[in-house]
Symmetry: C2
């Protein structure tokens, strides 16, 4: 593997304490490179960064319409949510539209990603259900697709299930990556996740955002998913979290989605560009900072949006007592 | 900065998903190198890895004896504890011996590092106090030293306070690092933290463990602190956490202590060696894996201790539903 440039530094006092290396790809819908840092051809597990691509068949097939999935359900299908009450309610409501409940979810249960929500749940005296799993909205979408396809939903997380075949085909069509021989793993929620070149993930989001290179039906599905997330930005992540705040700040200039292990992807519809970032060590603090720097460079927004991005490009680090002790900041390679 | 070798890999399926780079120094009490990977001369903020060195004046001065600090209080003074009820009780008891309570602590309050303890606290309907701060035992030790020195405790976290002057002198004497011109920052709990060469941290622990190169009184204090941790290993970290489990598994063959931002230090008293590790990106999962690999290489234990280390050198990664999806493993550079 070629050495990766330092993308993000964490300082303490006047010294750099920790460093995050990685790669960044920004391309248009034809795959033409706008920005490339590090090895953008090496295969990267896309993880949850491509949930919006995984949700395309849900809309394109008519399944969402047939079962009355509206903006919140569609936004949650693209989400890695924090397990807040609003997320849980949306997921439960989506399942109810299918005549199902959380027993149909194969993602497993974990405590809410939101500490506040986890503590409130603990205080209520009950544990987490699969509805609290950050992927429950995506899985509700998979179940919706299974119902619309009239196939047995059980085993919908398996690669050979008709639902995952549709999902994999949508990822291939948008990214242009051939996944048949790609490294495959099992994601945190049980579905297959494929490793594909970082440029392919970026190209997938350039196409997702612009519709270029997609069939009209798929382009319309992409527009509808983005509109759902823009209308319900808290569903896609959660209170105070990066993706939700980015969409609240930047509006329809951006669709942005984090994945586990330091992956982050975005579409800039008006510019026709897609962004994909992989932090080698998997740290979210670094992928978020790098994404903020790339968004600031490409969008150069002013006003509140510009202020929000600037704070994320160079973010003060406070200790327990609230004293500013350092910062997490984009490194020179991202600022040039 | 010289490029660092890959020390730890995180796999998914058959592919490497993420990588952690860093440096490892193993030296004897004279500073002679036994193992050096990466740039072991670059300054590294020692953070909480040196809490045991910071606790030396507490014992050496007679302060601990004067106020009746026994094994649990001394182990907690060396700890980054998880905020479990036993830790909170020990910290509160230590303060009571000084005629103080948690209002004297200047470390700030945070939720317990243990998710279980945090949820139980939330369920009880109250928030965290400074006693739950992972550093509360260290701070109780600082307050004990202030009381014994007959100086006003307020401001004991400041570099110019008599307590921190003693603490800094103890770090300098054990590590051999000159801290007057070293990069300095503020630690998470408010006290100064210094950046020193990784070899100096390793040398500090070689001396701490063996007593070589220390005054007889300081060597005795080090033995007493180690004995306290060996007799109460849960105090130094917490249920199921790396340092506690390592000491439970390996007994008096090792004293080991994590620090924030991927620092990990250990003393191997019988071998007269000290170990210091810095993961460039700050990840604890990597420092723990690297430490396990170095301990396995140097101690080569058999039986349960060997099994525990082997599991930590190559640790299965399970997804939410419990399926094994990959592993966190020491890379070749550590296994040669």
């Amino acid at each position: 593997m070629a050495p990766s440039p330092t993308l993000v530094e964490v300082t303490r006092g006047l010294a750099v304490e920790s460093r995050h290396c990685g790669a960044v790809a920004v391309v248009d819908a034809d795959g033409a490179t706008v920005l490339a840092l590090g090895d953008v051809e090496r295969p990267v597990f896309a993880r949850s960064s491509v949930k919006a691509l995984q949700a395309l068949p849900l809309v394109e097939s008519g399944a969402a319409d047939r079962f009355g999935f509206a903006e919140p359900e569609l936004a949650l299908a693209c989400a890695s949510h924090a397990g807040e009450p609003e997320h849980v309610a949306t997921a439960a409501g989506a399942l109810a539209r299918l005549g199902l409940d959380d027993a149909a979810l194969e993602c497993g249960a974990h405590w809410p990603l939101s500490d506040t929500a986890a503590r409130a749940l603990a205080a209520s005296g009950v544990g987490p259900s699969p509805l609290h799993n950050n992927c429950s909205g995506k899985h509700a979408g998979f179940l919706c697709l299974a119902c619309a396809m009239d196939v047995a939903p059980a085993g919908y997380v398996e690669a050979a299930h008709p639902v995952q075949r549709e999902v994999t085909a949508a990822i291939e069509a948008t990214t242009g990556a051939s996944l048949a021989s790609a490294p495959v793993g099992t994601d945190g929620c049980g579905v297959p996740t494929y490793a594909m070149p970082l440029v392919a993930i970026a190209r997938g989001f350039a196409r997702f955002g612009s519709g270029q290179g997609l069939t009209p039906a798929r382009a319309a599905a992409a527009r509808r998913l983005m509109a759902a997330v823009w209308s319900a930005p808290n569903q896609v992540s959660g209170t105070g979290r990066f993706d939700t705040q980015a969409i609240q700040a930047l509006g329809d200039a951006v669709f942005v989605k984090v994945g586990a292990e330091g992956v982050h992807a975005a579409a800039l519809p008006a510019l026709g560009l897609g962004i994909a970032i992989k932090i080698d060590d998997g740290a979210a603090r670094a992928s978020e900072t790098a994404m903020a720097a790339v968004l600031a460079r490409l969008l150069a927004p002013t006003g509140d949006a510009g202020d929000w991005l600037a704070d994320r490009v160079r973010r003060p680090l406070r200790n327990v007592a609230g004293k500013e002790v350092g910062e997490v900041r984009a490194a020179d390679a991202l600022l040039r």
